[in-house]
Amino acid sequence: MARHRGRGFAAINYPIGMNLGGDPSQALVHANPDGKFTVALSSIDLGQGMKSVTRQIAAETLGVPVEDVWVDTADSDTGPHCMGSFASRGTHRVGNAVIAAAREARAVLLEAAAEELEVDAGDLVTDGRGNIHVRGAPARAITTMAAAQAAQFRQGRTVSGRGIFLIPLSPVDPETGEMTPVSCFAHAAMMVEVEVDDETGEVGVTDMQSAYEVGRALNPRLVGQQLTGGAWMGMSHALWETTEPFYPDRAHRPVDFSAYLMPGPGDLSSHHISILERPAPDGPYGAKGPGEMCANPVLPAVANAIWDAVGVRVDDLPITPEKVLRGLRAQGGARPRRRG
C-alpha cells in the first residue's frame, strides 16, 4: 500500500457570455445634483465584484474620479434590463453597456461645460480628478460638479446616457451547423500535482500552477481573488462535491451541508497563478471574464494527474475514493504511468 504522486495538465478555451450571443445588458448613467454619477444596472453583484468593476469602467469613460460614481444594482424590477450574472458575462457584456451609457452622458456633460465656459465642447477634456478644461489650457476649467449643476439648474439638460450591449443571436445553418458561437474567448492552462492513496482511494491535490489569460485585468486584485477561489471550487468539483452516491436508494442521498462534502481550510493546495493580459478587441477596455473559467481547467488536470499517478482513468465526476478504488481493483492495483 502506497501513496502515488502524479502530475496532470489541462488547457481550456472559455467562451465569454452566452453561446451564440443574444444576451443583452443595459445600463443607464445620470448625474445627480451634487455632480456625482449614478449607474443603474440590473446586473447582480454576488461577490464577484460587478459593482467595483462597472464603477471603474464608468469613471474611466466619464473622466471623473471613481469616488464620484455610485453603482445601483438594487432592483432588477425597475432597473434597465440585464440577462443576468452568469456565463462569465458580467464584465464583458455589462461593461460594454456601461461604456456606451457613460459616453453619452459624458457628451452632455461636456456640452454643459462648454456652454458655461463659452467654448466648443470638442475642445474640452477631463482630468479624471473632477475638472473639465480646455485642451492645453488647464486654467480655463470648470468642475464636473459645477457643470452638472449648470446643466441641471440653468440649462435644463439631463446629463445622462443610455447603453446596451448586444451580440445578436447567431443563426445556425440547419444543413452544416455553421454558426458564430462566441465573440470572445478567455484561456487557461494548468498543471496540478496529486497524491493518490491506493489503499483508501483518497486523492489530495498538492500543488497547482496555472496561467489564466483574462483580457485586461481591470481590477487585478479582484481577478486574483476570483481565480484563487474559483480554482478551489474546481478542485472541489473534481474530487468532492456530489449528492451521490446514495445507498441503498435515493432516500439516503445527502440533503444538507453536513453530508455535502467540500474541501475545508485543511484541504487546500498551494496555487501559483500567472495572470496573462491580452486585451480583447470587443471587451470593455480589453476585459474578458474570469468568472467560471477559473474552475474549469482544474477538473481535467486532476483527472489526468490521477491517471498519471495510478493509471486509473475516471471519466465521471467527482473522482471520489470509491471510483478510484474500483478502478484500482479492476486493473489489479496501481500502475503509475511514469517510469523512473
Binding site: 465584484g49 481573488q225 477561489g229 478551489w232 444538507d256 451541508f257 475545508g264 487546500l268 496555487h271
Partner: protein
C-alpha cells in the same frame, strides 16, 4: 406558547427581550435584538455562519437555546469595530478575504476567539480555528492569510 424574558450582555450592552420555548440564540439575536450580523446558514451546526462568542468562547448560535444565554456575555461581529475597524476586519478588507460576505461574520468571530487565546498562531492553528466555518467563494487561502496578517498587526501594536 409562553414567552420568557431573557436578559444578556450583547457587545457590552445590557439587552433583554422575550423568547419562546425552543428558540435558538441565533433567532433571538436576529429577530428579538435586531443584531443581523450572525448569519443563518444551515441551522444544524454544519457551516459556522452563525458563530458568536458566549462568555468569550466561540459557539454556534443555531445550536444554543436562547434561554441558556441568560445572564451571559455575547459578542458578535456587529460589536467588533470601534472608532476604527477591528484589525481582523481591516485585514479581511485589505486581503480580499470576503467575496459574497455571508461567512465573514462567523469567520471573524472564530478568528477573534483564536487570537485572544493565541496571539501568535501558526498557519495550522488558524486552519484548525476556522475549520468549522464553510466558505464558498474564497478558497479559504485569503482568509487564513488575513488572520495571520491581523495577528502580526495586533502584536506589533501591543
Amino acid at each position: 406558547m409562553a414567552l420568557k424574558p431573557v436578559a444578556l450582555t450583547l457587545n457590552g450592552s445590557e439587552r433583554a427581550a422575550f423568547t419562546e420555548d425552543g428558540e435558538n440564540l441565533l433567532d433571538f439575536l436576529r429577530r428579538r435584538l435586531g443584531d443581523l450580523s450572525p448569519k443563518f446558514g444551515c441551522g444544524q451546526g454544519a457551516c459556522g455562519a452563525c458563530t458568536v462568542l458566549l462568555d468569550g468562547a466561540p459557539v454556534l448560535a443555531c445550536l444554543i437555546l436562547a434561554e441558556t444565554a441568560a445572564g451571559r456575555r455575547i459578542e458578535t461581529a456587529a460589536g467588533l469595530a470601534g472608532a476604527a475597524l477591528h484589525p481582523l476586519q481591516r485585514a479581511f478588507v485589505e486581503g480580499f478575504a470576503a467575496q459574497c460576505g455571508y461567512c465573514t461574520p462567523g469567520m471573524l468571530m472564530a478568528a477573534v476567539a483564536l487570537l485572544r487565546a493565541n496571539p501568535r498562531p501558526t498557519r495550522e492553528e488558524v486552519v484548525a480555528a476556522i475549520g468549522g466555518n464553510l466558505c464558498r467563494c474564497t478558497g479559504y487561502e485569503p482568509i487564513i492569510a488575513a488572520v495571520l496578517d491581523a495577528a502580526g498587526h495586533m502584536e506589533r501594536r501591543a
